[in-house]
Symmetry: C2
Amino acid sequence: MPLTLAKHIEVALRQALPDRQQYFLHEPQFEGNEWKYVKSCIDDGWVSSAGAFVDRFEADLSRYTGVKHAVVCVNGTAALHIALKLVGVERGDEVLTPALTFVATANAISYCAAAPVFVDSSLDDFGVDALRLGDFLATETTPKDGVCINNTTGKVIKAIVPVHVFGHPCRMDELKTVCDKYHIAIVEDATEALGTSFLDKHIGGWGPASVLSFNGNKIITTGGGGAILTNDTALAERAKHITTTGKTPHRWAYHHDEIAYNYRMPNINAALGCAQLEALDGMIEHKRALADRYANAFSSVDGAQFVQEPADSRSNYWLNAIMLDADQAESRDEILKYLCDAGIHVRPVWELLSDLPMYQDCQAADLTQARSIAERIINIPSSADLGA
Amino acid sequence: MPLTLAKHIEVALRQALPDRQQYFLHEPQFEGNEWKYVKSCIDDGWVSSAGAFVDRFEADLSRYTGVKHAVVCVNGTAALHIALKLVGVERGDEVLTPALTFVATANAISYCAAAPVFVDSSLDDFGVDALRLGDFLATETTPKDGVCINNTTGKVIKAIVPVHVFGHPCRMDELKTVCDKYHIAIVEDATEALGTSFLDKHIGGWGPASVLSFNGNKIITTGGGGAILTNDTALAERAKHITTTGKTPHRWAYHHDEIAYNYRMPNINAALGCAQLEALDGMIEHKRALADRYANAFSSVDGAQFVQEPADSRSNYWLNAIMLDADQAESRDEILKYLCDAGIHVRPVWELLSDLPMYQDCQAADLTQARSIAERIINIPSSADLGA
C-alpha cells in the first residue's frame, strides 16, 4: 500500500519536473553577475567585511524588502542571535518559538541565555497559529507592568520568533494583534522567505527586527550569510556595532565598549549576494511556475496534497512540499526511501524541536497540529531552474 | 621634540619601504590561483559549507602546520569559542588571557559564560610571560583534585589562551611547564601566527586545541575565516559536530543532539584560502625581507626600536612594530598622527582588555609589562608586497 502511494507520488513529481537523471532538493543558480562581482572583490583586494559590496547589498536588501535598514551577517543564525538581543532578550528571559522550525531558531534563543517556549503551528501556513497562541497566552501568562509573565516559571516572555516556513508567510496581522496585547516583541524568522509578501507587503517589517538567510540551500545564497532587517535606525546602528566587535570608531585606537560579536558578512560573500538579488525575481517566477505544475500534477493523487501558498500571500515557494493524508503518515519514511532511491531527493520536515534532547525539558504548549504536520510533510525538489 | 622623533621614524620607514604614494598597514595579496578556485566554486554551484575546498583547505592547513586536524570556521572568534568548549570551559569557569590582545580573545571566553583573568605580557615576545604567570599562579591559586582553584574567587581556572602577538611566538616550552603543573589547558591563539615556528616546529600543537584566523588583515585571508587545530581526533570530530549545528548524520532526518553553532566556513571562502595558502611561503619570505630592511633602517634611530622575532623562533612577521623608548611613550599619539597625516598608515596596539568597560571588573595580575608595551608600540606597514 505505501509503495502504491510512493509510486503515484513519483509519477506526479516526474510529470511536473523537466526530464533529468536525478533531482536535488535545492540547488543555487549562478547565471548573472556573480562572477563579475566576486572577481572585482579579488581584483581590488577587498574581500573582508569592510567593503563596497557589503554596503551595496545592505542597500539593495532594504530596497527590495521595503524595510528601512538591513545589516548583513555571517549567517542567519548570527542574525537571529543579534535580532533577539536588539529586542532586549536577556539571560533568564523566555522566547516563544514554533516547535516546527530549524534548530537555529531555538539555538539563537539559547545563545542569549534565554529559554524557548514552544507553541503550535497552523495547518494553513505551518507558521505560528495565532488563535492557539492567543489561547496559550490567555491561560498560561499574566500581564504585569507592561510585560508578559509566564505563570508556570515566573519569567518574562520577551519575544516571539514566528517562522515563515518554506517561504509561506505566517498570518502576521493576527499574530501582531495577539503579541501587542501581551507586550511580546516580534522577531520574524524570514530566513526562508526573501521575496514573499503578505497582504501585498514584503514580509520582515511586522516587528522591531526580522531575519533573512542566504545559506547555500536558500532562495539566494552568499555561500553563508544572513541579514537583520529593521525599520528602526537606532536598532540598525546597534546591530552594526555589536556585529563588529563593539568597536567605537576612531582613526587608530582599538576601543570596544561591550561584549560583542564578529558577525559581519565578508565583502566577497556580499558580492555574490548582490548578483543573486538581481536574479531573485526571475527565480521566484520559475519557482512559482514549478509550484503550479506540482499543484496540477498532484490534483489527481489520492493520499497526498501539494502545499500551496496561504490566503492573502504571494509566496516565494522556496521549498515545495506535499502533505500526506493523516492515514498515510506512517508510510512517510518508506516513501522517502523509495523516492531517494529513485534519484529524487526528498526529505521530511524537521523533527519537532521540543523532542530534541537539549530542548525536551522546555515548556511547550499543546503541539497537536505541529506534530501532525511534522509527521506528514515531504519536501520535494524546488530549485528555480526546474521551473524555467 | 616628539616631532623630531616622528620625522626620524618617517625617514627610517621610507628608507625601508619601496617608493609609494601611501602605505597601508596590511593589504592582502591575490596573485595565485584565487580566481581559478573561486570561479570553480561558482561554476559548480558549491559555494556553501559542504564543499570540496572546505575539505581541501582543512587538509592543506593540517599538512602546513603539522597539526593532525584542522576544522575551518566562519572566523577566528568562532574558532576560539569552539576551542575553549573543546577543552571543557563551561559556565562559571575562569580562563587566563593576556590583557594585551585583540578583544576577541576575551569575548570568546565570555561566550562560554566563563570569565577572563588577565595576566602580564613578556617584554621579549609580547606574549604571556611564563615566569610572571608562574608567580601569579603560585600566590593566587591552589591545586585541588587535579584542577586549579582561584583563591580569590573559588572558581576553577580551566584554560589559558596564550596569544602569538604580531606573529611572534610565545615561549611555549616554558608556558607548557607552568600550565602542566597547574592543570591548565592551553589554547594557543595563533590567529596572527600562521607560518610561525618556535623551536623548529610550527606553532599550534602545544595544547589540546589552537586557533588560526584568516580575516582580511591576516597573513592569508578567506574574506572572513578561522580554524581550530588539534592533534586529537575525537576533539576534531567534536569540533566539526558543534560547528555544524550538532546535526547527527542521516540520509534525510534532521536530528540535532545538543545546542550547537552554525560556524562552518563556506566553500567559496575556503577556495580563496586554498589559493592563499599556496602563496604563503612566498609572502613570508617577502615579509621577512621587509623586516630585515626595517631592522637596518631603525638601527640608527634614537628613541625607537624595531621589534624583531624572539629567540628560538622563526616569525611570519605578520605585523611589524616599533617600540618607543619608555621616555618617549607620551609622544605616541602625536607620532601616530604625524605618520598617518604623511600617508603612512600606522596604529597603536590594542587598549589593554582589562581597561575596557566590560572587562574592567575582571581579576588581573600585575600588568606592568603589558601596560608598558601597550603605551610604546606602533605598528607599521607590513603587507608582503612591500618586501617583494
